[in-house]
């Protein structure tokens, strides 16, 4: 590898690889675009990407994969996981007389608004959960709840970037990119970072899932549900080997092109790109082929629900399991497009939250239970969160505005101490009063569980070492098992 050794994200060029491994198209072992560890025998395990990064795992990794359940728009904490009886007592009173009201995004501050939903305690731990999430409630003994999350931004787009990249500005690498950069994927035929498009693209767009200054190969591949999960995934050739023949010919000519160029990293990457695309043609359709799944499994995920959005999110959750089973490092699910807005209920809180909750509740619980029964929950970290919370007082009459000063997030699975409640908000659920937890802390904890010291996962850019957690981040030890 010689002079390129310092170039950690591209430890071996295509041409160097060609020097070592020879074979027909598709059989060529290659360094995947998605940072997959090199399958070529020349590289043994001691030269894994982490080692090359000088980042021998600090910890024995608890988690191999992450499923990130993104609750687009901001779930109301006081209506879901953070009950506040005082809101019921003071319902309809002027919040300005109770506490100092921050500027809200819409500025249309109404009265204190009690939760339309009752809370009940569940599980051995007795964690209170509202009526919105009866299924997730049945999994609370596997869940560690953080009630003291804060964000830096009250607007969706910035808050979304912040949640995904640790920076409120567009253009930074998403957490899924960082994780794949650090660990690589365990599957050569699938991208290491997959976003399952449930129907809603979050404000800020696909930039939430981009690789920023990390190589483009670490950016998310966005998959849709349905028979053709990815555009152009099906070869058009009449016979399967016809495509192989064509690609072999193309490869031959491409390689001689490179020979005639001085520096051709871009072209080399484009060639490897083809090889991954080729493999995805079989690996992607296989993923969404659910016929091997039992009826009971599908039912568990709510795929027999009367609600089409539950069915759709259920199949996304099932797909997520199938992805992590195949070694995809980071799977993010975006929300389904229910007949209301995303979780962003500036008005009509009751209807909107109920529709959104109904779509995701059973599928998420199904996912936890299914993973658990297959022994996969031990190595999979599930994270559930929105980009911020909502105000305990109304926006207008029956909505809630954005609240970056407090929201609830939960984790389940690998390395997580189930049944834990961490952090506390004030009597209104408006601000955090104990164990304030930042998005950076959440990222640090995720990386920690994957065996990465968040302070050492760096990328030199613009003359500085940049981290997902910027210069912040503390592991939330109290929720770890």
């Amino acid at each position: 590898m010689g002079k390129r050794k310092h170039n950690i994200h591209r430890p071996m060029s295509r041409r160097e690889m060609l020097g070592v491994c020879k074979g027909g198209f598709g059989s060529l072992a290659f360094m995947s675009l998605f940072g997959t560890q090199m399958a070529c025998n020349r590289i043994d395990k001691s030269e894994s990407l982490l080692t090359q990064l000088g980042q021998t795992p600090h910890y024995i990794p608890k988690a191999k994969n992450v499923i990130f359940l993104y609750m687009d728009g901001g779930v109301s904490q006081v209506d879901s996981f953070d009950p506040k009886p005082r809101l019921a007592k003071e319902n309809g009173e002027d919040p300005n007389k109770k506490f100092n009201v921050d500027n809200t995004q819409f500025g249309n501050v109404g009265k204190i608004l009690k939760s339309p939903w009752a809370f009940k305690q569940y599980g051995e731990c007795g964690m209170p959960v509202s009526e919105l999430f009866p299924h997730i409630a049945s999994c609370v003994d596997d869940i560690a709840l953080v009630r003291s999350m804060v964000s830096n931004f009250p607007e969706h787009t910035n808050a979304n970037y912040f949640l995904h990249t640790g920076s409120g500005i567009q253009g930074r690498p998403s957490m899924g990119s960082w994780i794949n950069y650090g660990l690589g994927s365990e599957n050569n035929n699938l991208p290491g970072f997959v976003v399952l498009d449930g129907g809603l693209t979050p404000p800020g767009g696909v930039d939430n899932f981009k690789s920023g200054f990390l190589p483009a190969s670490y950016q998310a591949s966005i998959l849709k549900s349905g028979p053709v999960p990815l555009a152009n995934i099906n070869p058009q050739e009449s016979a399967p080997y016809l495509q192989d023949q064509k690609l072999d010919y193309i490869k031959q000519l491409d390689n001689s092109l490179i020979g005639g160029l001085g520096s051709a990293d871009a072209v080399e990457s484009a060639i490897s790109n083809y090889e991954l695309a080729y493999k995805m043609q079989s690996s992607i359709p296989e993923l969404t082929e659910f016929s091997s799944e039992t009826k009971a499994t599908k039912k568990l995920y709510g795929m027999d629900s009367d609600d089409p959005h539950t069915r759709s999110y259920g199949s996304q959750c099932l797909l997520a399991r199938r992805l992590i089973e195949r070694g995809v490092r980071f799977v993010e699910l975006t929300c389904p497009r229910v007949n209301a807005d995303r979780w962003d209920q500036h008005n009509n809180l009751k209807d909107g939250h109920e529709r959104n909750a109904h779509a995701v509740d059973q599928p998420i619980a199904g996912l936890i239970k299914d993973l658990k029964s297959r022994g996969l929950l031990e190595e999979t970290l599930i994270v559930w969160t929105g980009e911020f919370g909502r105000t305990p007082f109304a926006q207008g009459k029956d909505g809630r505005d954005h609240n970056p000063s407090a929201f609830s997030m939960w984790m389940a699975g690998a390395g997580i101490k189930g049944g834990t409640i961490y952090g506390r908000t004030d009597d209104y659920g408006y601000r955090v009063v104990e164990n304030e937890t930042t998005v950076h802390d959440m990222h640090a904890t995720m990386l920690h569980l994957l065996g990465i010291n968040h302070e050492r996962l760096r990328f030199r850019f613009g003359g500085r070492d940049i981290r997902l957690t910027d210069v912040h981040g503390h592991i939330i030890h109290d929720i770890l098992s």
Binding site: G107, A231, S238, G262
Partner: protein, 982 residues
């Protein structure tokens, strides 16, 4: 400095470095080593920006310890402790040096926790600079290019001078220049870069056969003159103005006539419209004196430039209409400042710019300019001829009036208006002669009311009566476009009432400049007028009390959701007497607004009495002739095609919105104006928006940015990277120029060459630098891996449009038809959602170039997006170049590509009844612009035989087998050489 103070500074620097990391930037001069003469801008400021400015920069709200390092005065001020942060001439007495070299983690700067560390070199530079006297300079981009640079090279050929600048840096770094690229490479490079299309076989043959010295220049001239040039460069500019034909958000409403702007750009680049004119047309094309009339069609080109203001996103029924206005204006300011000035003015919306000397007040000075500008349909085909006709019409009208009335003297004289208080207030009264200070945009309403205009009998021979005072869109004829718009007012009553009559016409209340009027929230603000009897039309505006508004009266109508398209039927017209604001019921009696209007009214009565009593002659010579002349001319003014552009409104000075929230306005309003860092006379004087002044200020000779920013964009498109890599950001967060002197030389030359874009492109394309091979030496790769110094030509992937257009050209399926409405977007099953068009466009987009394909925000073409055409939300002067499997999957499997392969295969079989080798040569020339090598021919033959076997075709039948050639052509489309420019 006491200990607490030190601790404070430590803490502040930590915070500083944290935030710096967020705003991280990459500024590195390619020259290594410590320079003899340390330059503040190129060596020192990058260190300070990265490490200090967030807490010690221009924004006072985040400034810590009252120390600012962005100005000389600030940095050298005596600190409380008695030290100076920087003591010019004495590095060892400067606190800054003490702190950055300190080993005590409590005191060290930047603090160890920040992950930031000044390198040895950084520290040496700082020391040397302080010792050399700590000279402070304005940010490089704010210092106008110095004439000396140009004087030095005045007599020399521009291309040679450019090469000189490039060579000097290469020599400095001892880098060898790559050889000149082959002729095949050059023609492909020039053709693609100038026109976005591959060269035709004919052009390749001609160029290869031309052994004269002028061969290259002739070839370059050919492409500069080809119509494809405009199609290529217009698309570059469309990235900058976030061009789209719909508004996105929930329903993806249309931006009507957006494509006319696309056509305008193509014509402008092909005609080499000087950039200063081009800029003026964008900023103030509706109001400039130097209107550019199209030489062929005669239409007013200049006004079309203003359409760029309207390409932003637009919400369906936003709850907070004022917020929507702020968002719209913010996007316009963001795009305008990036596009023309390379500055991120939008950063100063909530606080003074953290890095650039752009105070919040400057942002709101510009905000007022846009707030005083009104979106409006514009007659797309308004020609010079029509303008002349209009002038003639005015004269005729005046003459008829004079001839009919003569020099009659009226009895009624002005009286003081009585002081009766009414239960209503006037918003406009047109029963006199004047339009009561309303703005008459377009031509329909003219500049006065109908007062005393003689109305003739059908035969045109006798005067029937003298018309009364009313604003009318049928001054000349029905079906002519114009809008009558009131001054801004604040809604303070429950109702707005307008007394009007007309056919198929509209009155709208424009609240906070909001245009997409429709239910559920805003339906009340748009009323149709469809009666030839006077109507009392009232609007319930109680929900918008306290909001700024104006009344808009137009013949024709807006079709509402989902199109929001303006239409003007031929018989549409509207007349208006007055507009009032009132509570409760429509007032019993509406008096005249002023005594003068009353007098006008009485005079009209008197005139008609005289006429009736025969005291005034009821005919004038030649009246029927004049009237028919009038009618002819008026007919020519009837409009039916429109686009959305802007008209000037009434000047509004905006307060500063504290922390960016309009709900917290400052007490003081900021006069409309330009950036204080760029110009000394930055407040505008004109009564309207001031856009005209805005354009002029940008074009002032002392403006340091306009020329640099545009010439840098040109360079960027030619070399794939600008001299300033951050083409849209010349501020402190942008990158430093790789060749500052070259940039300044070109910026000055650009102006000297009368802002001719084509001349500058030619000068650059004629350089040796541009003609170099992509093959860089080993040495170059290690010393200058990013090829900043251009020792060789930068290898680049073609843009999405060039890939698609190249495919069509290679396949022989390129439809070269220019201009016109967009080809409807081809919809795949992956393109779902509200606002989805009813029908999908054709798979191959009618074979037309990508620039003519529809750009619907919510249904952007996947192939364009996948190959990195930016999503149109802001200025993208520089596209990303990504490498993702979706690109390979498109080229491997997309039905469009396969279809093109089939078309090409047919062409190959049909057109060349020659040998197989000739067929291969044909394919290579069409797709790769070169002949295949012998080895390639051998490989191709082997491959063809293999394909024949697979398809079960006898080898004798290969030459006529469609499937085989289709597979072959498809394979060629998948070669990297096809999508890379080498």
């Amino acid at each position: 400095m006491n200990k607490t103070e030190r601790r404070l500074i430590v803490a502040l620097l930590i915070v500083g470095s944290i935030v710096t990391t967020m705003f991280q930037c990459k500024q590195k001069d390619p020259i290594s080593g410590i320079p003899d003469e340390v330059d503040f801008n190129f060596h020192v400021r990058p260190i300070l920006v990265q490490n200090c400015f967030l807490c010690h920069g221009p924004d006072p709200s985040s400034r810590k310890a009252n120390l600012r390092l962005d100005t000389y005065e600030g940095a050298t001020a005596l600190l409380e402790s008695g030290y100076q942060a920087i003591n010019p001439g004495h590095a060892n007495r400067s606190e800054v040096i003490q702190r950055v070299t300190n080993t005590d983690p409590e005191l060290k700067m930047p603090p160890p926790e920040s992950n930031l560390k000044l390198s040895e070199k950084d520290i040496k530079i700082l020391k040397k600079w302080i010792d050399q006297g700590a000279e402070w300079k304005k940010h490089w981009a704010f210092i106008p290019p110095q004439k000396e640079i140009q004087d030095k090279f005045e007599k020399r050929d521009v291309s040679q001078t450019i090469d000189g600048f490039i060579s000097a840096k290469l020599k400095e770094r001892r880098l060898e220049k790559a050889n000149q690229a082959s002729k095949e490479t050059l023609i492909r490079r020039v053709s693609y870069i100038l026109t976005g299309l591959p060269p035709t076989i004919k052009m390749i043959d001609r160029f290869m056969a031309d052994t004269s010295e002028a061969a290259y220049e002739n070839m370059v001239d050919h492409y500069l003159q080809s119509s494809g040039f405009g199609e290529r460069w217009a698309r570059h500019w469309m990235d900058i103005v976030r061009y789209a034909e719909t508004k996105g958000h929930e329903f993806d409403f249309e931006i009507s006539g957006a494509w006319r702007y696309r056509d305008y750009l193509i014509r402008a680049f092909n005609d080499d419209v000087p950039y200063d004119q081009f800029l003026k047309e964008h900023i103030a094309g509706d109001m400039i004196d130097s209107i550019r009339w199209n030489k062929i069609t005669g239409i007013n080109e200049s006004q079309i430039g203003t359409a760029f203001y309207t390409f932003g996103e637009g919400k369906h029924s936003p709850v907070d209409i004022k917020e929507e206005e702020a968002t719209t204006i913010d996007n316009i300011l963001d795009v305008t400042s990036k596009a023309f000035q390379g500055l991120t003015v939008s950063c100063a919306k909530c606080h003074d710019h953290k890095f650039d000397p752009i105070p919040t007040a400057d942002y709101y000075a510009l905000y007022g300019v846009i707030e005083s500008t009104r979106f409006s349909p514009m007659a797309a085909n308004f020609t010079k001829e029509k303008e002349e006709n209009l002038k003639t019409l005015e004269k005729l009208k005046k003459r008829l009036k004079e001839m009919s009335i003569g020099d009659i003297s009226f009895k009624n004289s002005s009286k003081e208006n009585d002081d009766t208080t009414h239960e209503y207030s006037f918003l406009g009264d047109f029963r006199g002669s004047s339009l009561d200070q309303w703005k008459s945009d377009g031509v329909a309403f003219g500049q006065t009311t109908r007062m005393n205009t003689p109305v003739f009998s059908k035969s045109g021979k006798t005067i029937k009566y003298f018309d009364s005072g009313k604003a009318s869109s049928s001054q000349y004829s029905k079906g002519i476009f114009g809008a009558l718009r009131s001054p801004n007012f604040v809604i303070d009553s429950d109702f707005i009432g307008v007394k009007a009559l007309g056919i198929k016409s509209t009155i709208r209340i424009i609240v906070d400049n909001f245009q997409l009027i429709q239910n559920p929230i805003y339906g009340e603000l748009d009323k149709k007028v469809s009666s030839s009897k006077w109507q009392e039309i009232s609007f319930n505006v109680s929900a918008w009390k306290g909001h700024k508004a104006y009344i808009e009266i137009v013949p024709g109508y807006f079709s509402g959701s989902p199109n929001h398209t303006y239409k003007l039927p031929k018989d549409a017209y509207i007349d208006v007497q007055y507009a009032i604001a009132f509570d409760g019921d429509w007032p019993q009696k509406v008096d005249f607004r002023t005594a003068e209007i009353q007098n006008d009214y009485l005079n009209n009565k008197q005139l008609n009495t005289l006429l009736r009593n025969g005291k005034l002659k009821n005919s004038i010579p030649e009246s029927s002739h004049l009237l028919s002349q009038n009618e002819q001319l008026a007919k020519s003014l009837v409009d039916s095609s429109f686009f959305v552009g802007v008209n000037d409104g009434f000047g509004v000075n905006s307060p500063v919105f504290i922390r960016g929230s309009y709900k917290e306005p400052s007490e003081e309003n900021i006069p409309r104006g330009f950036l204080s860092a760029i110009t000394t006379h930055h407040s505008f004087k004109s009564p309207g928006s001031g856009r005209h002044e805005l354009a002029n200020t940008m074009l002032e000779d002392s403006n340091p940015l306009t020329s640099r920013v545009m010439i840098n964009r040109i360079w960027h498109h030619l070399f794939g990277r600008g001299i300033v890599e951050t083409v849209d950001n010349f501020g402190l967060q942008g990158k430093l120029p790789s060749h500052p002197d070259l940039l300044d030389y070109l910026a000055l030359k650009f102006k000297e060459e009368n802002w001719s874009i084509k001349k500058m492109i030619k000068a650059i394309v004629m350089t040796e630098t541009f003609q170099r091979s992509v093959e860089g030496s080993e040495d170059a790769q290690s010393k200058d891996p990013e090829n900043l110094l251009l020792s060789h030509f930068p290898l680049r992937r073609l843009e999405s449009e060039a890939i698609r257009d190249g495919l069509l050209a290679a396949a022989g399926n390129l439809n070269q038809k220019m201009f016109g409405p967009p080809v409807p977007v081809h919809l795949t099953e992956f393109m779902q959602g509200r606002g989805r068009p009813g029908n999908s466009g054709p798979l191959d987009g009618e074979g037309r170039r990508s620039i003519y394909q529809g750009v619907r925000r919510n249904f952007l073409q996947p192939m364009m997006l996948t190959f990195d055409r930016p999503i149109p939300f802001s200025t993208f002067g520089k596209r990303n170049v990504t490498n993702v499997p979706a690109q390979s999957l498109i080229l491997m499997n997309d039905p469009f590509i396969i279809h093109q392969a089939e078309i090409m295969a047919k062409d190959v079989i049909d057109q060349t009844k020659q040998s197989r080798d000739k067929k291969l040569e044909y394919i290579y020339l069409k797709a790769l612009s070169r002949k295949p090598s012998e080895e390639e021919i051998t490989k191709a033959n082997e491959f063809l035989k293999q394909l024949a076997q697979t398809h079960g075709v006898e080898s004798s039948a290969i030459d006529t087998d469609l499937n085989i050639w289709k597979d072959f052509c498809h394979s060629v489309f998948n070669l990297k050489e096809f999508i890379y420019l080498i």
